[in-house]
């Protein structure tokens, strides 16, 4: 039996304060009898590796309507030309891991997914060499693979594949720093029974623009766990997409973002349950502060007619710390079969308002510490699941630093 819960709520009403300027929390569950899928068809063009197959977006398309195109610095209309000094990529991998740079004729490219919008196709059409990191079958790494992507101020297009052979296990930390205008595709290919944990940190300088499509193809009985952590950048738009290559696959998709004044941070997810007996669990949490901070979260889950025994849940929570910030949160669940274990979603946007601050201060807690308490508490359950000590510590430190900026400018 289908078991769908639809519980979008606007917590700010209960928290006592008015919602921040124009934030939206929408949600829909569609139960379709036919194979007609709106999640799949509402993209304005079919997937393609060729940028010429996509018209230049004008901003009213469903997939672009939240994104300020004028801040993409030309990634969407062909005017952003790759410069020599784009990004520098440094890979540190434990023994046994193969790290290669290959051309676009390499047969391993494009297996996990096809670009679904113009910027992703532009990246595919424009990259010079693709990086391929391979963990051979049955290899269990005890140290993380670390990929440092450092922006050197220019325009760059990238393609990265991370492949785990059957029953291999690895943790990959991808760290984005510096300043760049970067469009990329990242592919995760998991063999049967493989276990991959990816932590992708977007800790860009304030001017950076980063648009990427992440495709994961999860093998039979394989487990994919991902943490997408976005702090920096002028505009970051990430599009993680999940599909399953066999039954028994599991995806845990966690995200954490801290959107400051003027920043646009957009996370669009698609989990395509195209295979029976697979699981997915999505939990993204964001804090926002400052004038013009804009976070967008789109959570699309499609349960195809053949995907019996699916178990899926997705959640998005936002904490608005100051006036002037905006959240658009849109979970969509589309179900084509009733023969599933469970499916549901929840989305809520709440405010940390003056009454909460007063309450904590009235118990002796200074204002800065009160904010830290609330935001750390809000993120803690996600951070604790990362399981990579130095990354957990760094994230907590980073959250504290972000909070210092608001307490300095605020009350």
């Amino acid at each position: 039996m289908a078991e769908a819960q639809n519980s979008p709520t606007l917590d700010s009403a209960r928290a006592g304060g008015p919602p921040s300027v124009g934030s939206t929390t929408a949600g829909s569950i569609a139960v379709a009898a036919a194979a007609e899928s709106t999640v799949a068809t509402r993209m304005s063009a079919p997937p393609s590796f060729d940028v010429a197959d996509f018209p230049v977006p004008h901003g009213r398309e469903e997939e672009w309507r939240f994104t300020p195109l004028e801040r993409l610095r030309g990634l969407h209309d062909g005017t952003a030309v790759a410069t020599g000094a784009g990004v520098k990529v440094d890979v540190q991998a434990p023994e046994g891991v193969t790290v290669e740079a290959v051309g676009r004729d390499d047969a391993r490219l494009g297996r996990a997914g096809i670009p679904v919008d113009r910027v992703a196709a532009q990246a595919y059409s424009s990259f010079e060499a693709a990086g391929v990191i391979t963990v051979p079958r049955e290899t269990v790494l005890t140290e993380p693979i670390r990929v440092a992507v450092h922006g050197e101020g220019g325009v760059a297009y990238g393609h990265q594949i991370i492949e785990l052979g059957a029953f291999a296990e690895a943790v990959v930390v991808i760290d984005h720093t510096g300043d760049a205008v970067l469009a990329a595709n990242v592919e995760y290919v998991l063999g049967d029974g493989a276990k991959l944990t990816v932590v992708s940190v977007q800790d860009w300088d304030d001017r950076a623009v980063h648009v990427a499509q992440h495709n994961a193809l999860i093998g039979r009985d394989a487990t994919f766990k991902s943490f997408v952590v976005t702090f920096g950048g002028d505009l970051v738009r990430l599009h993680p997409r999940i599909a399953y290559a066999g039954p028994g696959g599991e995806a845990e998709l966690f995200g954490l973002y801290f959107t400051d004044a003027g920043q646009h941070q957009e996370h669009r997810l698609l989990v395509d349950h195209n295979t029976p007996h697979c699981k997915s669990n999505v939990a993204y949490k964001g804090a926002l502060q400052g004038e013009g901070a804009h976070a967008v979260w789109i959570g699309d889950v499609l349960i195809e007619a053949k995907a019996e025994g699916t178990d899926t849940y997705e959640l998005n929570r936002n904490l608005v710390l100051t006036d002037g910030a905006r959240v658009d949160s849109v979970p969509n669940l589309e179900i084509e079969t009733g023969e599933i274990v469970g499916a549901g979603h929840a989305s809520a946007t709440g405010r940390f308002d003056d009454e909460q601050l007063f309450y904590l201060m009235a118990r002796g807690i200074p204002a800065n510490e009160a904010r830290r308490l609330v935001v750390r508490g809000f993120f803690a359950e996600l951070v604790q699941q990362i399981g990579v000590d130095d990354i957990e510590q760094r994230l907590l430190t980073k959250i504290d630093e972000e909070l210092e900026t608001v307490s300095g400018s605020g009350r």
Binding site: G16, E355, F358, G364, G377, F378
Partner: protein
């Protein structure tokens, strides 16, 4: 001995683009060990007095003084007032998403006491205080006031009172919305703190019901933004029988 002295306190609030004077010259002295009941009709300004003393930003002090042991309370920020020994049990405590009761209590106790309480004794202290208030241990893991019933919110306020041991406790309509059982449990909590003799209590209430459980030394009638009559416990009996009518003919002000 700690003493809170309020002298000729005037307070205004901004409402509907107009400035409205709510407190019109309040004089009151509360000493450690004493219990003062402030009673008055709705809209008389009782809650404004409570929130003004705690430092809520909504209220503007336009005249008068408030001192705690000679220190100027009005110069202090909200958290400084709490650390100086003022405690306000709120009528409508707000929800704090993402912050557990146990984390909140410990952070607060650390701030008030000036050092983190030793973990082992602290856990015991909290557990025992919760038991005395008939609170389930699972309460500590819930988020502050999130999904609490009216009675749970008030117990949580009194739990903080017991743990933070202020010099002056202001209880703003702690009795409102409680059934008899909850009222008894909450009152017992307040009485335990009072019995220490180390707290001065300012009990703000609309009803005389709570005064059957918490015996005041002094009763003040509040109307139209000031204290209009003061007396001993017998004044409460008079209010019980006659109501506030005698005091409201001059017209109240809204809170």
């Amino acid at each position: 001995m700690a003493t809170l002295e309020i002298h000729d306190l005037h307070v205004t609030v901004e409402a509907d683009n107009a400035t409205k004077e709510i407190l019109k010259g309040v004089d009151l002295t509360v000493k450690q060990g004493e219990t003062h009941a402030i009673m008055g009709p709705n809209g008389s300004g009782k809650s404004t007095l409570a929130y003004s003393l705690a430092g809520h930003p909504k209220y503007t002090i336009t005249g008068g003084t408030v001192t705690l042991d000679g220190e100027d309370v009005l110069e202090m920020s909200v958290d400084e007032r709490a650390r100086a020994g003022l405690f306000l049990a709120m009528q409508y405590p707000v929800e704090i998403p993402g912050v557990s009761v146990s984390n909140f209590l410990r952070t607060s106790a650390t701030a008030i006491r000036g050092e983190a309480p030793k973990l082992r004794t602290w856990v015991k202290e909290v557990k025992e205080a919760m038991q005395r208030l008939n609170m389930d241990p699972s309460f500590a893991e819930r988020n502050v006031n999130e999904g609490f019933s009216g009675g749970e919110k008030k117990r949580h306020e009194i739990l903080q009172l017991e743990l933070l041991k202020p010099k002056i406790a202001i209880l703003d309509e702690t009795d409102s919305g409680l059934d008899v059982d909850a009222l008894r449990i909450v009152s017992e909590g307040v009485n335990r703190v009072r019995e220490s003799g180390e707290v001065g209590t300012l009990l703000i209430t609309h009803y005389t019901r709570i005064l059957r459980y918490i015996k005041p030394d002094h009763v003040h009638v509040f109307s139209a933004g000031r204290i209009v009559e003061s007396g001993g416990p017998e004044l409460a009996d008079k209010l019980e029988n006659e109501g506030y009518e005698a005091y409201t003919t001059k017209g109240g002000v809204s809170e």
